[in-house]
Each structure stands twice: as C-alpha cells, then as structure tokens.
C-alpha cells in the first residue's frame, strides 16, 4: 500500500534520512521503532510532504507522491496524527471534526458517528474548545480527525507520549479496532504497547532502517530488542 524506497531527507544542512526503505501492508499495523533522533518523525513528515525529498521515492497505491504539496498528499487518503497532536485550540471539538470531513457525505458521516462511539468523550465535549481538553482527549481528537479525513492510511506519531498508562491502554484498544477499517503506520517508543498491537515492525537507527519483519519475530528475538530498543 505504502512503499518507501531509499528515502533521503535533509533538514537544513543535516542529512537526517539516509536511505530509508520499508513497506506498509494493507489492513495491517506497521510499527516504526527507534531511539530519539533516529529519524522516525522525519520519515512521517517527509511522507506528508513537510520536508522535500532529496532522493528516493514514496509510493502510495503505486502512485508516486514525491514532493507533492501536503494538502494533495492528504487528499490521496493519507491521514496524519503529529507527535504534538496538532490540535486547533480555538476550535471546538465539533468544529474540528466537521472540518475533518472534507466532503460531507454518507461515508464521512458514518466515520464521524463511529469515532464518537469509539471515543465517547468527544461527543460529551462536542462544544468544548479543543485547547481546553486533557492530554488524552486531545490525542483522541487528533486520531478521530485524521481517521475521518483519511481514506485508507493513517500515520500516527507517538500516540502514547505523555499519557497515563490507563489512557495508553484505551488508545491502544481504539487503534486495534480502527485496524478493521484502515491501515496504520505507527511510530512508537513504547515497545510493550506497540508490540501488542503491531503486525509488522521496522527499527530505525541513525536515519536508516536497520531491521524489519513480523512483530512476532521481534518479540522472540531478545537480543535484537535489547540492542536497539533497550528491552529484554
């Protein structure tokens, strides 16, 4: 579904991505692991067109996305949840989710209804300004917004960051349910959580993919998970 091949990205003079290659399979959750500064967020932001591609290709459903403007990449059906959630503080929850419906039709209405069932807090705080939500509620809103707006693929950047274990568990359950309706590329540092829901994994280090495969294989390879992820 999404194929990233030999991707290279510079931010100013820094060579951040140095030939990243991986694939996201349809209907699966693919997890991108890696230490801070490994290039995970840069990979997502490059796919979304925030950074220009210096080399390599990004293909979505066999269509090359290289250096398209962000809004056109999003219109291909790719939803994005940034690391900082990218909330619109002055918009209410309702306004944010209405804005996420690029076109108001049966399909997007159904998506909205389903998101409100999955995250009842969003319905409860429909009239509340997004900036006043708790961290967990903001994350729910960011995921719901991206899901409603997208059509096939979600890129989610560290959804567990800064959240309580209970909230992380809730979000993981929701992401697992969303897998039934969309493909997900998840960037995560929380190995225990991501290894429970992921189907495939890739490990990034110094701007490159150093390992990849089935999540079950990673779980069984204690040496690998210790070396790159610091877990045993």
């Amino acid at each position: 579904m999404l194929k990233v091949d030999n991707l290279e990205t510079y931010i100013e003079q820094f060579h951040i991505l140095q030939g990243v290659t991986f694939e996201v399979r349809k209907g699966m959750i693919t997890v991108l692991f890696g230490r801070n500064g490994a290039g995970k967020t840069t990979t997502l932001r490059t796919i979304m067109g925030y950074y220009p591609i210096a080399n390599g290709t990004v293909r979505y459903n066999d269509e090359v996305l290289n250096n398209l403007p962000t809004h056109l990449i999003a219109r291909k059906g790719i939803g994005y949840v940034p690391e900082d959630q990218g909330i619109f503080p002055s918009l209410t929850v309702g306004e944010t989710l209405v804005l996420a419906q690029r076109e108001k039709n049966k399909e997007t209405e159904e998506k909205l209804t389903w998101m409100l069932e999955l995250f009842p807090d969003l319905k409860k705080f429909w009239q509340k300004r997004s900036g006043l939500l708790s961290g967990g509620q903001k994350q729910m809103l960011a995921i719901a917004r991206a899901f409603i707006n997208s059509d096939g693929l979600l890129l989610i950047d560290e959804p567990s960051k800064g959240l309580s274990p209970l909230m992380v568990e809730k979000l993981m359950e929701a992401i697992l349910q969303m897998k039934e309706k969309t493909t997900i590329l998840l960037v995560e540092q929380n190995y225990f959580m991501a290894s429970e829901i992921g189907d495939y994994f890739y490990i990034m280090d110094d701007g490159k993919i150093v390992h990849g495969g089935l999540m079950d294989e990673l779980k069984e390879d204690a040496e690998l998970s210790m070396k790159y992820l610091g877990v045993s």
Partner: protein, 286 residues
C-alpha cells in the same frame, strides 16, 4: 457631558477606522506569519480612489464599492507577485512589503500629485444631530455603525462558516490544516485580498472623516494598526477590535485632557499591555 460624549464618539470612530486596517493585518499575520508593512498602502489607495470616484460620480456607494474593488485588486496582485515568493522569511517580507508600500505611495503621487486633496462628504452624511441636548456629528456615527457592521460580518464569517473555521484553524496551526487536505495558500490569498478590501474600505471612510487626504497618511495609520494588532494579540480579530477601541478612546481623551501625552499614549498602552500579557489581550501566539 457634551464634551465627554463627543470624545467617546470621536474615540470610537477613530478606533473603528483603525480596526478596519488592523483586522486584515492580524489575520494575515496570524495565518501565515506574514509581516505586511504595505497594508497601509491599501488603506490610502482606498481613500484616493474613493475621492476620485466620488468627485466623478457624486455617488457615495458606487465610490465605496469601486474603492474596495481596486483595493482588492491591488491586494491580489501584491500577494501573487510580492508576498508568495517570501513566505517564511521575515527579513525578506519586511524589505519587500516596505518597498511595496513605497511603490504604492509613489504611484499615488504620480497619479494624483503630491499635494493634499480635499475630500467631500455626501449631503445626507453632512452635519450633526441632537440627542438630548448633545450635538453629535452624523458622519462619525456612520463610521461607528459601518465599523461595527464589518466587525459583526468578520466574526460571522469566522465563527459560522466553514471557511471561517479553516481560517481560525490556520491561525492555530497551518501545518495541520494542510494535512487535512486544505490548500492553505489559497485560503491565505483569499484572506489577503479580503484584508486589502477591508483596509480600502477604511480608507474610503477616513477620507471624508479627515477632510484632507495625502499620500503618506497610510503609514501613520499602519503604525497604529500594528500597535493594536500587538495589543490585541496576533491573529485575534476580537483582540484587534478591542485594542482599536482602547487606542481610539485613549487618543481622543488624552488629546483633549493631556495634549502633551497624546503622542506617547499608544506606546504607553502597548508597553503596559505587553508587561501584563506578553501575548496581547487575546493572543495565543507569542
């Protein structure tokens, strides 16, 4: 009582004139972080085109519509040719928009000459009315009314329409708006043109208000507009409206009671607000 009421009317009308300039400026800055020092140019063009059309047609409304149209056209050309290439670079924006302002002013001198021009007033807006023994100048009340209507329309646009939601979301986080499949540059062009049109409307209202127009007057009002944008909070139309009224009233009252302070009062207000609230009255952005 008469003096205080008249000072209130003067302050409010001046404040709402400043608001017409500041509303576009604050949205342009809030949405795309573009520092547009040429915004006063649209204002002064509005004034000159209005005077020219009014003297030719004698019709107040046709002249206003024409002046707004020309202001929007200049805004369109300006955004396409000068602003787009300098997105994201404040130093270049500063140089390009200051240069653009000079060009707009010089073009006015080329077309209408360097001397100040008298601006007339339609008969139906001339004179004054008496309210409970207090004499009020009709035109100033008219300016207040138009200013309030424009404020209401802008708030209606921002709060009740999808495009308004996009603008507010863009002020909050323009990167994220793009990730929702929205072409933020197209939205910005629209806001820029709309802001230029509102500034031109401000100019048309100012012309009969001051009675005399001159090419450099845009800069004078642009400085006031920048002050209210900062006091109100970058990107906040509500903040710009409140700050404009505060600045207008402060100017009117100090000019009457403490004339020596009248030049400094805006700066003092700015310092006072920034000390208490560095992001301005309603600002989310620092």
């Amino acid at each position: 009582m008469n003096a205080i009421l008249n000072l209130l009317i003067n302050g409010l009308s001046t404040g709402l004139l400043i608001f017409l300039l500041a509303s576009g400026l604050t949205l342009i800055f809030g949405l795309m972080s573009v520092l547009n020092f040429a915004h006063g140019g649209f204002f002064v063009w509005g004034a000159f085109v209005w005077v020219w059309l009014f003297s030719a047609t004698g019709n107040f409304f046709i002249s206003v519509v024409g002046a707004i149209g020309i202001g929007m056209l200049i805004g369109f050309i300006f955004e396409k040719t000068l602003i787009r290439p300098v997105y994201g670079n404040h130093i270049r924006q500063l140089l390009v928009t200051l240069g653009g302002m000079l060009v707009l002013v010089e073009l006015i001198r080329m077309i209408w000459g360097s001397n100040p021009i008298r601006a007339g007033l339609p008969v139906w807006l001339d004179g004054s009315i008496q309210l409970g023994g207090v004499v009020l100048i009709k035109y100033r009340l008219f300016v207040i009314l138009v200013g309030l209507i424009i404020y209401g329309l802008i708030m209606l646009l921002l709060k009740k329409t999808k495009i308004g939601m996009i603008i507010r979301a863009g002020v909050d986080n323009r990167e994220m708006v793009q990730a929702l499949g929205i072409n933020i540059k197209a939205v910005f062009s629209m806001v820029f043109i709309l802001g230029a049109g509102i500034a031109a409307l401000g100019g048309t209202l100012l012309a009969p208000y001051s009675g005399i127009i001159f090419a450099d007057m845009g800069l004078q009002y642009a400085i006031l507009a920048f002050i209210v944008v900062i006091i109100g909070g970058l990107g906040s139309v509500r903040g710009a409206a409140l700050a404009s009224i505060i600045v207008g009233l402060a100017g009117a009252f100090t000019a009457f009671y403490y004339p020596d302070l009248s030049l400094a009062v805006n700066m003092l207000l700015l310092i006072f607000v920034l000390l208490l609230r560095p992001k301005g009255l309603f600002g989310e952005k620092g």
